[in-house]
């Protein structure tokens, strides 16, 4: 077990290093003034600019820059934003926005996973039944819908026609709240639209993967043994099949972490949800490279860490890996 983890840990570190290096060079091949990667455009105050030039060595040879970049990285300094006039990138990312994205993505991925796993298992069990066919078709349909269009439809139907959900933002503008619950209620009310959109767009995929995985497991001999023992259907399904079938899902989850940190750019844009996804969009449009670079680094760290955690979890679940 230890050897396995050490090996995976080392591999993760190497990938992380490569990702950071790649990010560094990626943004330096952008057209234009190289100092943009740290300072953005020239519209920050001269004093701030001076400080940054010094910190990041922007007038020095590239390898010096790289070393300073790494040093700054470790100190948590990701440069300053262009569009927000000198605000440090770290405070832009690690603030309200990350919170909003976490809540939205965490809940929708979580709910979609649970639904997808359970329904996928049942559908595989009742293969070729009406339930199975309808759920498969439903999943294929939602999978085929562009996310942003689904969002637009939901706004159209529930926002415009039914007036049930607000059309944009995380909170009602100009409202004051008397207590936490009112605040939370308004927040959640605003979150309904993007939440439903995202959950619907994720659930089809998870469902199909889980169903596929379970059908594979059904062909295994130990399923016949379980049946031969005359165990109850539910026990066979959930204890024997599901445990084996969820293994591939764990590796899949690690990839989904990208969404947890990067948000769903399209959905957040459609609903004007104040999160990282929308930040990415704005930063690209405004060519705010420091912010983009910062987001990339954060996401790389998050995904690689998540992959490593997935490896650990996988080792827990599959005893064969441990040795």
């Amino acid at each position: 077990m230890r050897d396995y983890l050490i090996k995976r840990g080392a591999s993760a570190l190497v990938t992380l290093a490569l990702a950071i290096i790649l990010t560094f060079f990626l943004f330096r091949i952008m057209p234009g003034d190289p100092t943009r990667t740290v300072v953005g455009d020239f519209r920050v105050t001269p004093e701030v600019r001076q400080m940054l030039v010094h910190q990041f060595g922007l007038d020095q040879p590239i390898w010096v820059q790289f070393v300073l970049y790494i040093r700054n990285l470790f100190m948590g300094n990701l440069g300053v934003s262009f569009q927000y006039r000198g605000t440090p990138v770290t405070s832009i990312i690690f603030g309200r926005r990350l919170f909003n994205t976490f809540i939205l993505m965490g809940s929708s991925i979580g709910v979609a996973l649970i639904i997808g796993i359970i329904v996928g298992t049942v559908a595989a069990w009742k293969r070729e039944s009406r339930f199975d066919i309808s759920t498969v078709v439903f999943s294929l349909v939602t999978y085929s819908m562009p996310v942003f269009w689904l969002g637009m439809l939901i706004i159209l139907v529930f926002g415009y026609y039914l007036g049930a959900i607000p059309i944009a933002g995380t909170m009602t503008v100009g409202m004051t709240y008397s207590n936490v619950f009112e605040y939370a209620a308004d927040y959640l009310h605003h979150m309904t639209g993007p939440f439903v959109t995202l959950t619907l767009s994720f659930v089809g995929f998870y469902f199909l993967i889980m169903r596929d995985s379970i059908l594979d497991v059904f062909t295994e001999d130990y399923m016949l043994t379980a049946k031969a023992k005359g165990l109850g259907d539910r026990k066979i399904l959930f204890r024997h099949a599901m445990r084996n079938a969820t293994l591939p899902m764990v590796s899949l989850l690690a990839v989904e972490v990208t969404y947890l940190f990067g948000g769903a750019t399209m959905t957040e844009t459609v609903f004007s949800w104040y999160g990282i996804g929308r930040l990415i969009y704005e930063a690209v449009v405004m060519a705010d490279y420091p912010v983009l670079q910062g987001i990339f680094v954060v996401m790389a760290v998050a995904v690689i860490t998540a992959n490593f955690c997935a490896d650990i979890v996988y080792a827990f679940l599959d005893p064969r890996i441990r040795y």
């Binding site: 790649l22 990010t23 085929s144 439809l153 459609v270 990415i280 995904v303």
Partner: protein, 299 residues
């Protein structure tokens, strides 16, 4: 018989085997209702794309009426904010969406397969390096990368295709690589090398034909991804505004505030088209996978 005759006969036999395999495949495919539906859908769209100039009532790029007209007999889907006929735009949109989808996905699987083949067959150092690169691409978030590349390269169809290709080749590469690696271990590969075939010959003759079926199924998914990617990019404003792809139409709809004003005729049709076209390819992919993937046949 002479050497030449023998070689010719061998070629002919191989042709018949291939033809029979295709016929078997088609026979099985016909039995899958999902596959038939998918094929019908895709062919319908292709027909519309080819016949666009004759089907569309107006030119999609010029303004032919007052802006924001509601659906009527003159304009089935009304007009957009500059007075262009939405219905015509949706019809012409078929061309762009199909074109980008097909070209981008072809390039994606070509690139991905090439890298996968090289990586899987050569192994060792080359494999390591290529896989690290692939991992990096997988880790970095796709949409932001696409947006950045699109903003650097600028607007235009070729650029969209390039962007999609560069971001999407990793999935195919991984799959082809693992297939190649498992095929490399098979006896017929060893036999081929034992009799002295060059690597290129072995790859071309033995590995490629066996990888091809899976690549084909994967290709359908690549088409799906490419169509959705193009739609997304265009919607966010990074597409080609001079073309009327469905994503672009929706982009204009969004700018015009169609959602908040309830212009469902502007929003629903382009989206449904994207959805149907994608579903068509998804169905084909599903059915093809069922037939070609030996693992699935056991179930």
């Amino acid at each position: 018989m002479t050497q030449e005759q023998a070689a010719l006969q061998l070629e002919e036999e191989r042709f018949w085997v291939y033809k029979r395999k295709l016929r078997d495949f088609w026979r099985l495919y016909r039995r899958s209702s999902l596959g038939k539906v998918g094929l019908v859908i895709v062919l319908s769209f292709v027909t519309v794309a080819l016949a666009a100039p004759w089907i569309a009532p107006y030119d999609p790029f010029t303004f032919v009426g007052d802006p924001f007209l509601k659906p009527s007999s003159a304009h089935i889907l009304g007009t957009d904010q500059v007075g262009r006929d939405i219905f015509s735009r949706v019809i012409y949109g078929t061309r762009i969406s199909l074109l980008i989808g097909l070209v981008a996905s072809t390039m994606t699987i070509a690139l991905g397969s090439l890298i996968g083949l090289i990586s899987g067959y050569l192994g060792g150092r080359v494999d390591n390096v290529l896989m690290r690169i692939t991992d990096l691409f997988i880790i970095l978030p796709t949409l932001p990368l696409m947006l950045i590349m699109a903003s650097i390269l600028g607007k235009g169809i070729q650029n969209i295709i390039i962007v999609i290709t560069v971001i999407s080749w990793t999935a195919t590469a991984r799959m082809v690589r693992s297939q190649t690696m498992s095929l490399k271990e098979r006896p017929f590969t060893e036999a081929s090398r034992a009799i002295g075939s060059t690597d290129l010959h072995t790859i071309a003759r033995h590995i490629v034909p066996n990888v091809f079926p899976l690549v084909f199924a994967n290709g359908m998914i690549a088409i799906v991804d490419a169509i959705l990617a193009e739609a997304g990019l265009s919607f966010l404003g990074f597409g080609d505004p001079s073309q009327a792809s469905w994503g672009m139409v929706l982009h204009f709809a969004d700018i015009a505030g169609a959602t908040v004003n309830g212009y469902w005729w502007y929003i629903v049709p382009p989206g449904i088209c994207i959805m149907l076209l994608v579903m068509g390819f998804a169905f084909i992919s599903y059915s093809t996978d069922q037939i070609l993937n030996p693992r699935l046949r056991r179930r």
